[in-house]
Amino acid sequence: MRLRFVVAEIAHGFRRNASMISAVILVTFVSLSAVGAALMLQLQVDRIKGDWYDKVEVSIYLCPEDAVDQGNCSGGEVSADQQAAIKERLASAELAPYVEEVLDQSGQSLFEEYQERFGGTYMTNEVTADMFGPVIHVKLTDPDKFAVVTDAVGAMPGVLQAVDQSDLFGQLFDLLSKVRLAALAVAAVLGLAAILLIATTIRLSALSRQRETGIMRLVGASNLFIQLPFMLEGAVAALLGSVLAVGALWGIAEFWLADWVEANFAVMMGSVNPADAIMVAPWLVVAAVVLAGVSSALTLRRFTRV
């Protein structure tokens, strides 16, 4: 009985307040889409960075088994002696002051990382494990001094390529983080608008049902029972907005963004994953509930007190 009554009250509120409710849904939709976009961007950046980006500055890729005429790989796969020589060089008096830590990664591990990152795109066609040699990751004491290390070891036999990681993706991440910041700013402004709008909607709804709530108070309905329909009205509208946001983010990623990125930015290949929309969905739902909750708290105390 109680549940049916509350549901009927909400439905009634929706009909009576249709245009306001639509506005709430749209504003939360756009606001939460911006939040979701920022979250997805973060996931995307994490994926591009891979496991090493934030930990090391220089990665020395050694010659794989299937070495063609690249780098200093004329001798084929890097030998144990060559590896030892590179390690020795890094530990020498000349380089040691710049090197904080040296980490080894096997070719097999690199191959698996690659598969994970580009799995499902054409980038993994005809790629085999023997195309990946071991890597020596170097963490520097001063990240700006990468050139000292890349210059010193870049020409050593057995080195395919010594790469300064930050140079590789630095500008891209810079751009993405600015985009993310912009999305968060939009989300914040629209989130505030959503809160105010929900508060206004609840207020209008409460005013238009003053006679009902007055009678409810008189006959001894509990506060929760009086307020619940109003709170749920805002919450349901906000939740609908979040569902739309998840749908929109997924749709954009699935049908538009992934193809566009693949066609235009090889370096970001495979970084757009429509499934991310599902991963951020719980957070958007939580955000919607928070928006509605804050609005209810702002409004109801004043309008439906005992």
Partner: protein
């Protein structure tokens, strides 16, 4: 049932008290008129009983509870034992007679079968049997007030507060409403009725409490509107 001991109510600091040292004892099952000019404090007294307002000083017990000390969360349950009727009926225009009365049970969570059983009985008590499906605007003023009374008593309150229930009604209709209130009183409900209606009071010969500027100036067990004839 209702016991006021030297109760004062001041709405705004410095203003004349709406109630000024009122002491009153209304026992269970009594029918009591509150009379007096507009602004004499009748409505204030009723809203204190219902705990819509806080008293300023003195002590007041309603249904055995000290209403000044009652915590906020206890108020809803407390009010379920008190019915209220007003001059302006306060019905929900979109709901039928039956739905208006059922509303009072729904919102305190009474089960459907209890509603289906109780509402027709109460409509019968107030003389509205057969008009369950009408909406308020299809009813006369007197009938609307009967719906309001039905709604007020459907949860079987121990006290019924009526604030000028016949204020908008013609004399004959008022007598009908008075009859309904007396029937409610006969079921054991204490009735407190604030009124300006001289004819009703004089005819009923019930207890009369007269207020003037917030003070009780007369309290007679079986009185007339204007004092002993």
């Amino acid at each position: 049932m209702i016991k006021f001991d030297n109760v004062t109510k001041v709405y705004a600091r410095g203003a004349r008290p709406a109630l000024d040292g009122v002491s009153l004892d209304i026992p269970r099952g009594q029918f009591c008129f509150l009379v007096g000019a507009s602004g004499s404090g009748k409505s204030t007294l009723l809203s204190l009983v219902l705990r819509e307002e806080h008293l300023t000083s003195g002590r007041a017990f309603v249904l055995g509870q000290d209403i000044a000390k009652m915590p906020q969360r206890r108020i809803p349950r407390f009010r379920r034992q008190i019915g209220s009727v007003f001059q302006d009926f306060r019905l929900l225009e979109r709901k039928t007679v039956f739905q208006n009365v059922a509303f009072a049970m729904q919102v305190i969570g009474r089960p459907r079968h209890a509603i289906m059983r109780t509402v027709p009985d109460v409509l019968d008590l107030v003389g509205l049997a057969g008009k369950e499906k009408r909406t308020p605007h299809e009813l006369s003023g007197g009938e609307q007030q009967r719906v309001a009374i039905a709604r007020a008593v459907v949860n079987r309150p121990q006290i019924l507060l009526a604030d000028e229930p016949t204020g908008n009604l013609d004399p004959r209709t008022s007598e009908g409403i008075m009859g309904v209130l007396e029937r409610v009183n006969q079921t054991g409900t204490t009735v407190v009725m604030a009124t300006h209606d001289v004819g009703l009071v004089d005819q009923a010969r019930r207890r009369v409490v007269e207020l003037v500027e917030g003070r009780v100036v007369r309290d007679e067990a079986s009185g007339y509107y204007g004092g002993e004839a």
